[in-house]
C-alpha cells in the first residue's frame, strides 16, 4: 500500500492548497518554509516541543469512555479525546507552542494571530507571555462581543487585542487584517496561523503540530480496548483539530473519518458555515492563500456565514480536508445550531463535562451515528475544547441573565 504523503513540495493537495499570495508575502513564506524544513525533524527542536507539551500543556490528554452518554443513547460506545483538559482549554495550544518555538529560532520578537472564538488568540497570548514575545491578536468586532471572557484572558496575558471592523467582522476579516499587519511588519513579525488553512507551509505545519492528538489516540485506544475505533469524529471550521486527529488514521483501514461542519440555521436556509457539505453557494476558489472549497456568490465574492459557534464561523476550510473529501477518505456532514446546543447540554448533564460549542457539533453527530450502530462499536470524538468561554452565548440562547 502506498502511504499517504501529502502535500507536494509546493503545498498542493491535488488541486487544493498551494500559495496564492501577493508578491509582498512571497519572501516571508519562503523563509518560513525553509526554516520549518530545517527544524521539522530536528531532534533538539522536537525535544523542546515535546517538553512543553508535557510540562506546560499537560499532555498526553486522556481518552475517556463516556459510558453514561453511550448508555443513554443506546448504541455505539462513545470515547472522548480530552483536548479540553489542555492548558488554555483547547487543542489550539499544540500548534501555537510549535510555531512560537519556531518564531524564537527565527529571531522574530513579535507574533501576531487571528482568532474567531478566541481560543487560538488565548493560546498564542499564553505562549507569547511564556517566551517573552510581543503579541497582537486580530479579532472580528462581532466575535469580540460574543467571546468576551476570552478577550479578557488575552489582555490578562499581556496581548493587544485589535477589534476588526471591516467586512463581516468575524474570523475571515481578522485573518485579512493579520495578513495586512504581516506584510507591513514582515522583518520582525511571525504570523501564527491558528488553523490548517492559509498559504503553504501553514496547512502542513499546523497539521504536523496537531497530529500529536491522533498519534496519542492511536496508542491510547490500543491500550484501552486493544483496537482502533470504527469512526473518528471531529468538528471542522478551518479544520485543525480534525486534521490533528484524522491524519495518523488516514492510512489505517476501516476507520471512518467524519468531519462535522456548522450547518447554522440549516443547510437549506443558506445561513451556515459548511462549504464542504453545502452544494449551493459553495465552490472551489482561492482565499487566504490557498485553493479550497469556499462559500461564495456567483461573482466569486465571499458570502457571510453563520454559526452559533464563533470558531466554526469561517467561509473556507483547510485544503487537506477538501482533498480528503474529494478522494473520499473522509466524510463531511453538517450539524445545526439547535442540534449542537442539545448535545452541549446533554454532555454537561450526563458526563459532567462542559464542551465548547464548536465541539458540541461533533458530539451531536456522534450521537446521531451511535444510535445506528451496535453496542460493541466504537466512536472516538475529538473533544477539542471546553465550553467555559461560551457561557454567555448559551445563557443568552436560554434567556438566562448571568
Amino acid at each position: 500500500m502506498q502511504l499517504y504523503d501529502m502535500p507536494d513540495e509546493r503545498g498542493h493537495f491535488g488541486q487544493f492548497g498551494g500559495s496564492f499570495v501577493a508578491e509582498t508575502l512571497v519572501e516571508a513564506l519562503d523563509e518560513l518554509r525553509v526554516m520549518y524544513e530545517k527544524y521539522r525533524y530536528d531532534p533538539e527542536f522536537l525535544a523542546e516541543y515535546a517538553y512543553d507539551l508535557k510540562h506546560f500543556v499537560g499532555r498526553p490528554s486522556p481518552i475517556y469512555h463516556a459510558e453514561r452518554l453511550s448508555d443513554k443513547i443506546g448504541g455505539a460506545q462513545i470515547y472522548l479525546k480530552r483536548e479540553d483538559l489542555n492548558h488554555t482549554g483547547a487543542h489550539k495550544v499544540n500548534n501555537t507552542i510549535g510555531q512560537a518555538l519556531l518564531a524564537k529560532r527565527m529571531g522574530k520578537p513579535r507574533v501576531i494571530a487571528e482568532t474567531g472564538a478566541g481560543q487560538h488568540g488565548v493560546a498564542t497570548a499564553t505562549i507569547a507571555a511564556r517566551l517573552g514575545l510581543e503579541c497582537v491578536v486580530y479579532m472580528g468586532s462581532e466575535d469580540v462581543k460574543r467571546q468576551a471572557p476570552n478577550v479578557f484572558r488575552m489582555k490578562l496575558l499581556g496581548a493587544t487585542v485589535v477589534p476588526v471592523e471591516s467586512g463581516s467582522k468575524t474570523l475571515k476579516d481578522a485573518l485579512n487584517e493579520a495578513m495586512r499587519d504581516w506584510v507591513t511588519n514582515i522583518s520582525n513579525t511571525f504570523y501564527i496561523i491558528g488553523t490548517v488553512a492559509g498559504p503553504h507551509p501553514y496547512p502542513m505545519m499546523v497539521r504536523d503540530f496537531q497530529t500529536v492528538i491522533g498519534i496519542e489516540a492511536k496508542e491510547q485506544m490500543k491500550e484501552m480496548i486493544g483496537r482502533q475505533p470504527d469512526a473518528v469524529v471531529a468538528c471542522v471550521g478551518g479544520g485543525s483539530n480534525a486534521m490533528g486527529i484524522f491524519h495518523p488514521y488516514i492510512d489505517v483501514p476501516n476507520v471512518r473519518l467524519i468531519g462535522v461542519e456548522a450547518a447554522g440555521d440549516g443547510i437549506e436556509t443558506g445561513r451556515h458555515a459548511a462549504p464542504l457539505t453545502a452544494t449551493k453557494n459553495s465552490a472551489v476558489g482561492v482565499l487566504h492563500g490557498n485553493r479550497t472549497y469556499l462559500m461564495q456568490d456567483a461573482d466569486g465574492n465571499i458570502i457571510d456565514t453563520h454559526s452559533v459557534s464563533a470558531g466554526l464561523d469561517y467561509p473556507g476550510v483547510g485544503p487537506e480536508h477538501a482533498w480528503l473529501k474529494d478522494i473520499e477518505r473522509a466524510e463531511y456532514v453538517g450539524i445545526t445550531d439547535d442540534e449542537a446546543m442539545a448535545a452541549f447540554h446533554n454532555l454537561c448533564r450526563t458526563e459532567g463535562i462542559i464542551p465548547a460549542l464548536e465541539t458540541s457539533h461533533a458530539l451531536a453527530h456522534a450521537e446521531k451515528m451511535a444510535k445506528t450502530m451496535r453496542k460493541d462499536e466504537i466512536i472516538l470524538v475529538n473533544l477539542s475544547g471546553r465550553g467555559d468561554k461560551d457561557i454567555n452565548t448559551v445563557a443568552k440562547l436560554a434567556n438566562i441573565t448571568l
Partner: protein, 264 residues
C-alpha cells in the same frame, strides 16, 4: 502591437512617463465609472487601472477596501466590470485598460470564460494580486493566447533570482510595490525605490511602474524621474470617496491634471 506596448513606445519617443490612475469599478456607483475613466483620460491619464471589487481585499489598505465595499453594495461583480470596460471602449479605443483584482472572481468565472470575455470587452492587461507566477501557469497561457498582458508585482523583498522568474512571465509592464505594506499605507522612500528600480532594470527590458505609496504630486514627480510609469491608487480612490456626486468629475479631473503636470 498591444495597446499597452504602443502607449509606452509613444511615451518613450516623446520622452514622457506614463500616468496610471486607479479607481474601483462601481465606486461610488456603477453609473459614474465610465465617465470617470473618460475624465481621467481627458486630464492626462495614459493607462487606466480598474479595480475589480472583492469582498476580501487582503493586500489593500482601508481606503481601497471601503471603495470595494461601496461597489459591492451595487453588486458590481467581474461580469459587470467587463461590461463597463466595453462601454468605455465605445468612445475610447486607444487608452489601455488594466484590470487589477484578486483571484477568486476569476476562479468563479473560469479562466477560459474570463479571458474570452475580457478580450471581447477591450481589456488589455490583468494584474491578479494573489496569482503569483508559480500558481498561474494556466492563466498566463490563457491571457497570452488572447493577446492580453499579464502584469505582475515586484516587492521590496523580492530577491534577484525571483525578479528574473517573475520578469520572464510578465508582459506589458512590471509593477514595483514601493513599500512593505498594504496599498496607501505609508509614504515611500524615493531613494530606496530608485535604487531598487535600477536593480530590476538590469534584469528586464519591460517598462517599470511604481505604486502603493504615491500620495501627492511631489512624490509622483520624483518617482517619474526614474520609473516608466507612476501608479496612483489610494489617492485617487480617496478623492472619489471625499467627493459629492456633483464634484466627483471635477475633483478627479483636477487631481489627474496636477499629477500630469508634476510628472511631465
Amino acid at each position: 502591437m498591444s495597446r499597452i506596448k504602443k502607449t509606452f513606445a509613444i511615451l518613450k519617443a516623446n520622452n514622457k512617463k506614463a500616468l496610471i490612475p486607479y479607481i474601483i469599478a462601481g465606486d461610488p456607483h456603477p453609473k459614474f465609472t465610465v465617465d470617470l475613466m473618460h475624465t481621467m483620460v481627458e486630464n492626462g491619464a495614459d493607462i487606466i487601472e480598474l479595480g475589480v471589487p472583492f469582498s476580501d481585499p487582503m493586500a489593500d489598505g482601508p481606503v481601497i477596501q471601503r471603495a470595494s465595499e461601496r461597489a459591492l453594495v451595487h453588486k458590481v461583480g467581474l461580469r459587470k466590470v467587463l461590461s463597463l470596460v466595453k462601454e468605455f471602449r465605445v468612445k475610447d479605443n486607444c487608452t489601455p485598460v488594466v484590470l487589477m483584482g484578486y483571484a477568486n472572481p476569476i476562479e468563479a468565472m473560469g479562466f477560459g470564460t474570463f479571458t474570452t470575455a475580457a478580450k471581447g470587452a477591450g481589456v488589455d492587461g490583468v494584474l491578479t494580486v494573489d496569482y503569483p507566477p508559480e500558481e498561474s501557469e494556466d492563466f498566463i497561457a490563457e491571457l497570452n493566447k488572447n493577446d492580453m498582458d499579464c502584469i505582475f508585482l515586484l516587492s521590496p523583498t523580492t530577491e534577484a533570482k525571483r525578479i528574473d522568474l517573475v520578469a520572464k512571465q510578465a508582459t506589458g509592464f512590471l509593477y514595483y510595490v514601493s513599500l512593505k505594506g498594504v496599498t496607501g499605507s505609508a509614504n515611500l522612500d524615493v531613494d530606496e525605490v530608485k535604487a531598487r528600480v535600477a536593480e530590476i532594470r538590469k534584469q528586464t527590458d519591460l517598462p517599470i511602474g511604481v505604486g502603493f505609496g504615491v500620495k501627492d504630486a511631489a512624490t509622483a514627480k520624483s518617482v517619474a524621474a526614474f520609473a516608466d510609469a507612476v501608479v496612483v491608487g489610494s489617492r485617487t480612490v480617496l478623492t472619489v470617496e471625499q467627493s459629492s456626486e456633483e464634484t466627483l468629475m471635477s475633483n478627479i479631473g483636477t487631481l489627474i491634471q496636477e499629477l500630469r503636470t508634476a510628472i511631465d
